[in-house]
């Protein structure tokens, strides 16, 4: 072939089959090579992050050039010109360059790409781990919350049953238990009885002996202990086909009430425990985690506390109910007693009056009858009537006295009296009877016994009379001796009354009176009964005609006088001695300047009560002055009269014991006198008592008087009796404020 076209011939004939296949392959290769960069660009544009742009560009260029090469190859299958060959060669050269560059580049890139994958895996693992831990913490926190909630539930009630039920329910819920049960010790303490369960409504009275080793194991530790699901404690569910879940048991101390007296929780002294058994669900392959066990222990403790609170409450409620009952009973008893007392008082009051009235009539008329002309027989009869009615009157008085004594409403009439006279009087009164009976009565008064004493002479006489009278009554022959002396402290104590501790002092002394008789005596066992009222001894020995009140009354009187009375006797037929000790006051020295208390027995109207008492009377009104003077003179006072303040102040001296002043004159300030007198006699014992006479009935006057230092206020008009009583009160108490 002639070639002027400068063409290059392909090596193989163009129509060869191989050539055809090459042609088609080249075409497809070019196509693919051109589409790859397009795809790359498309996807890279889509992705957000791709750090290897430059590599891509290189790779794209390489691919494009490869594609170009193959494309140009298509023209070389047929005869082609030199230009085509040139282009082909250029493309190939370029491709070679780029591909070598790319190959070099990839050496750096590929390890990086590979390590990315490793990192990704590592991070994924880490994330999974953190997830797990989060789950754990969440569980723990939830458990804590459950504990708090459980505790709250348990403590919010004080009912034992509710506490236990709530515990089981809440525990079951919190821990997702299959079964939860409480075993309580029986009364005998030898067995544990199934008391509460979570799922079964009515637990069978299932008991388990307490001395199983597994139980001991649980009781000896304060922690929750894993036990075997096959032990009797845990056989609560019907035997399942599958593996039972893990079982844990914990002890619940049952604290007794008395344990709370000690400050620290008693570890060993509580002997009683209950047992709580918790079962995880079977087939769950769950395990008891530490935090769950801790939860169980905490709950067990809380339950123990709550149970003891419930026990305490029960106890205190019971005590309170008891107390209330007792209160009601006491109240009733008190009211009954009060009613009885009231009834008795009413009865006495009525009877007293009813009895006294006829008595009075009898006595009065009998005495009147005595005054008239009577034949001797009549006189004897009247005298007998009088004596009997006097006795009866005494009896009535005794009864009234006794009831008043018991009420505590009797008060002694304390006054100064002649002690010797009392004894003499008693002797005189009693003399007739012993002389008839041929008894000899002797009175022995100790020389150191004071002649005068302060006390209730009437009641003292009554006591002595009663005692001596008894002695006389129950003696048929022999002698009766009465001794009285001042009791010494050592001899005051009576073994029978160890509480009686008399202590003599400067103002008081203890009078001891012993009455010894040689009569029929008393047997020792009867002695205590003597002083009980209405109790009489059996007839033969002491045939008393009295009502049995006498000694009881005496005892009361003696007690009122801070004393003690008792009877000693060696037995029947050996006579007896009655002894009593009473407290009497020692009167002050009898002095004319001081005002003595005249014995009430000898006071009578019209007689002077205040001999020589110097009184200063100040009154502007002549008439009322004269009247007041008359009053005081009648009472035996030595009265000085003044009619003005100045005169009063001039005349008043420490000899005057009382200053009576009229303060109801308007415009005149009688109060000024009080102040001036206070100034003149600063010492209290020199100052006369200042008393205001006023017709004003208001409080202001009284307050004014008190303010200026007056010792008393008397309301006009003043009667003789009033003046007398006022003066005596004043001199005794040195103050008198009549209720205005």
């Amino acid at each position: 072939m002639e070639l002027n076209c400068n063409c290059i011939e392909p090596h193989l004939p163009p129509d060869d089959l191989l050539m055809k296949y090459q042609y088609i392959s080249d075409f497809f290769i070019a196509l693919a090579y051109f589409s790859i960069p397009l795809e790359l660009i498309y996807f890279v544009k889509k992705s957000a992050v791709f750090p290897y742009r430059w590599v891509l560009v290189q790779f794209g260029a390489f691919i494009v050039l490869c594609g170009a090469t193959h494309l140009i190859n298509l023209w070389t299958f047929t005869i082609h010109s030199r230009t085509v060959a040139m282009v082909m060669t250029t493309a190939k050269v370029l491709t070679a360059v780029v591909s070598c560059a790319t190959a070099l580049m990839l050496v750096h890139i590929i390890p990086d790409l590979l390590s990315v994958k490793t990192r990704e895996l590592f991070l994924k693992n880490k994330a999974a781990e953190l997830d797990r831990e989060m789950g754990l913490i969440r569980t723990q926190e939830e458990t804590g919350r459950h504990v708090r909630m459980l505790t709250h539930e348990i403590r919010s009630t004080l009912d034992r049953h509710t506490i236990l039920k709530t515990t089981l329910v809440e525990l079951g819920r919190t821990l997702g238990l299959e079964e939860c049960a409480l075993w309580m010790p029986t009364r005998t303490g030898l067995e544990l009885q199934l008391s509460y369960t979570l799922r079964q409504q009515n637990p069978v009275g299932y008991t388990v002996p307490i001395h199983l080793p597994v139980i001991n194991q649980v009781f000896s530790s304060s922690r929750a202990v894993k036990i075997s699901p096959n032990c009797p404690l845990a056989r609560l569910r019907p035997a399942g086909k599958y593996m039972p879940g893990e079982v844990v048991a914990v002890r619940v101390p049952l604290l007794h009430l008395t344990n709370f007296q000690i400050n620290d929780w008693p570890e060993l002294s509580t002997k009683r425990y209950a047992l709580m058994v918790l079962m995880l669900p079977s087939d769950s392959a769950r395990q008891w985690h530490v935090h769950e066990l801790e939860l169980v222990e905490v709950v067990a403790d809380q339950v123990a506390v709550a149970l003891s609170h419930a026990a305490i409450l029960e106890e205190s409620m019971r005590a309170r109910d008891l107390l209330m009952e007792q209160n009601v009973a006491l109240d009733l008893a008190r009211r009954e007693a009060e009613t009885a007392i009231r009834a008795r008082n009413d009865f006495l009051a009525v009877m007293n009056h009813e009895m006294r009235t006829p008595m009075h009539a009898i006595i009065a008329l009998s005495s009147l009858l005595q005054e008239t002309e009577l034949t001797p027989e009549q006189r004897l009869m009247v005298e007998t009537i009088l004596k009997s009615s006097n006795l009866l009157a005494t009896l009535i008085n005794d009864v009234l006295d006794l009831s008043r004594l018991e009420d505590g409403s009797l008060q002694l009439d304390v006054a100064t009296f002649n002690l010797y006279a009392v004894f003499r009087e008693v002797l005189n009164l009693i003399k007739p009877i012993p002389s008839v009976k041929k008894l000899h009565v002797s009175l022995n008064l100790a020389p150191d016994l004071p002649e005068f004493a302060i006390g209730d002479d009437k009641r003292l006489m009554q006591t002595i009379l009663n005692v001596v009278g008894n002695a006389v009554k129950f003696s048929k022959e022999g002698s009766i001796s009465i001794t009285a002396f001042v009791a010494k402290p050592e001899s005051l104590r009576d073994p029978r009354a160890p509480e009686f501790f008399p202590v003599p002092s400067d103002n008081h002394f203890y009078l001891r009176v012993q009455v010894k008789d040689s009569g029929s005596g008393i047997s020792p066992q009867d002695i205590p009964k003597l002083f009980t009222k209405f109790a009489q001894n059996q007839a033969p020995t002491r045939n008393s005609g009295g009502s049995g009140l006498g000694l009881a009354i005496c005892k009361r009187f003696v007690n009122l006088m801070d004393g003690h009375i008792w009877i000693e006797s060696e037995g029947l037929g050996k006579g007896c001695t009655a002894i009593f000790i009473v407290k009497l006051g020692i009167p002050e020295r009898w002095n004319e300047s001081k005002i003595p208390f005249m014995p009430k027995a000898s006071t009578n109207h019209g007689q002077t009560a205040f001999p020589g008492l110097k009184v200063l009377v100040m009154d502007e009104n002549g008439v009322s002055r004269m009247v007041t003077k008359g009053l005081l003179v009648h009472l035996g006072c030595d009265v000085t009269m003044v009619s003005s303040i100045e005169e009063c102040l001039r005349v008043v001296s420490h000899e005057h014991k009382v200053v009576l002043m009229d303060v109801c004159v308007p415009g005149m300030d009688g109060y000024e006198i009080a102040v001036r007198i206070h100034e003149k006699f600063p010492k209290r014992h020199e100052r006369p008592l200042i008393v205001a006479l006023t017709g004003n009935t208001d409080k202001v006057t009284k307050e004014n008087c008190m303010r200026v230092g007056m010792d008393g206020v008397i309301l006009k008009p003043v009667s003789l009796d009033k003046m007398r009583s006022v003066l005596s009160d004043l001199l005794e108490h040195r103050v008198l404020f009549e209720a205005i």
Binding site: M626, V627, G630, L631, K716, S719
Partner: protein, 150 residues
């Protein structure tokens, strides 16, 4: 029961003085003060009363003539008069004095004048009666202790 007719008459007169309201308890108090040491105590007091109060009444009269009335002064006088009257137990007189004082306090001159006239009448009446009483008493001789009127 008094055996002596004079004594009986005296007792009746005394009783009527009480019953008619001329005298009150205070008079009895005075009588109680009378004893052997002071046999004429009551009469002495009453005499003194009339002397004293006469003077006061005169003062009041003079004060009432001067117009306008000095109520304060009048009240003062009447207070004294009232005091004396109550000391001997002159019941009606005392009542009038109280009334007078009320009028003085309220400044009622007209009332004062009226009451004063009434008071003077009562005063004079009582005086006559008491004089008669004491005269009879002197005739009757030493009196026994008075009994309280029923």
């Amino acid at each position: 029961m008094e055996r002596n007719p004079i004594r009986r008459q005296l007792a009746n007169m005394r009783q009527s003085l009480f019953d008619q309201g001329y005298l009150d308890e205070q008079f009895i108090q005075l009588e109680e003060l009378q004893d052997d040491a002071n046999p004429n105590f009551v009469e002495e007091v009453v005499t003194l009363y009339y002397r004293d109060s006469g003077r006061i009444l005169l003062n009041i009269e003079q004060a009432l003539e001067r117009k306008p009335f000095d109520f304060h002064k009048l009240d003062g006088y009447m207070h004294q008069f009232k005091g004396s009257s109550s000391s001997i137990g002159a019941k009606k007189v005392k009542a009038e004095s109280t009334l007078f004082r009320e009028y003085c306090k309220s400044g009622n001159g007209e009332g004062c004048m009226r009451t004063f006239q009434q008071l003077k009448r009562e005063y004079a009446t009582l005086r006559k009666k008491l004089e008669a009483y004491f005269q009879l008493a002197r005739q009757a001789g030493p009196m026994e202790t008075a009994c309280r009127p029923k």
